[in-house]
Symmetry: C2
Subunit: 202 residues, 2 copies
């Protein structure tokens, strides 16, 4: 790779990074090419050299978020001793990101919601972010011995985290996140002893 | 009131109704004056006679939603025998509206999320919709004898309903709503017997 292509790649990455941040903070529909170009401080010509449409930038942003999420889940797999500790890492993600969540909501949930309303072609791609978490959580519940209802428990935990993010965002309330994180840990503890409470369907 | 003002009021109501539907289905930022005027099939001149800005329409939409919500909660108070049945009415709202929820999400949650990201001046007004439910739920939990943690239980139930709406919307999954409604009823049943599990702070 020569110097010119290294520089080109770096500008592209800067655009994607700025778009990622702006889509998260102000929403996809509101964010314009001009907002992104201003944030990166590049000319329109240079910008169009990398991306012709906002949809192309969205695809790149979703790609980066998917890669980042996969990396994080792989790290949890490596570092945490077993499925319970991995599930507690998932819950603790709300605490770790509480400042951003109360300001901007969940990056996954708010993007999926917006793209679903816009009936945007990339909605299915954005949903892959939810699916990554859903599949990974299901795997951990199976490893915990909850084979029959692993899917339902995974969706329930994902739903709880989304609900907490939505209300913490609406009320800009970090304290509420701490209270709900405590409840989620209690709920997980109750799952460790429980027998499945309904008929398996997967 | 003469015929002309009756007609004028009716056109205004039609505009607010169309805007309410479009803001819900496609989002506030995406919806334009032109979209609303097209839906009502009136001229731009007639439209501007009633509303000069989209923000004015948003204020009217939030006003209508607040009035409708207050009316619904008052009806539950009248019709349901006691606090437990009223809380079950709240939970059943997810079932009753499941077709719209899996297509467009929760009308309250998605509007509050979008306005928070836009740092829109009407965000606090939209939040009043959440606050109506929050206050009403807290009252019911107090009546159930959960004085010490009524506020936390109200927020927890509101969060669960938001989480279910977000995931049902992302995955367009009505069956998931039914499963979570069942879990919420189970959770409420567990609240009837429980003692408060933490120190009161309200």
């Amino acid at each position: 790779m020569n110097a010119a292509s290294t520089l080109a790649k770096s500008t592209r990455d800067q655009i994607v990074e700025a778009a990622d941040r702006l889509f998260y903070r102000t929403g996809y529909e509101y964010t314009s090419f001009a907002h992104i170009a201003d944030a990166v401080q590049i000319s329109r010509g240079n910008f169009y050299h990398h991306f012709k449409t906002k949809d192309q930038i969205l695809d790149a942003v979703i790609g980066v978020r998917l890669a980042r999420t996969q990396e994080m889940l792989a790290q949890w797999e490596r570092e945490a001793a077993g499925p319970e500790e991995r599930l507690r890492r998932f819950i603790e993600m709300l605490s770790a990101n509480r400042a951003d969540i109360q300001r901007y909501g969940c990056p996954v949930g708010t993007l999926c919601t917006e793209l679903a309303k816009l009936q945007h072609a990339a909605h299915d791609d954005a949903n892959q972010l939810f699916t990554l978490f859903r599949t990974w959580l299901r795997k951990q519940f199976r490893l915990l011995g909850r084979k029959a209802d692993a899917e339902a428990l995974a969706m329930h935990l994902l739903a709880m985290s989304q609900g907490v993010a939505t209300l913490a965002h609406a009320f800009h309330d970090e304290k509420f996140i701490r209270e709900e994180v405590r409840r989620m840990h209690e709920w997980l503890t109750s799952c460790l002893g429980d027998a499945p409470s309904h008929t398996p369907h997967d």
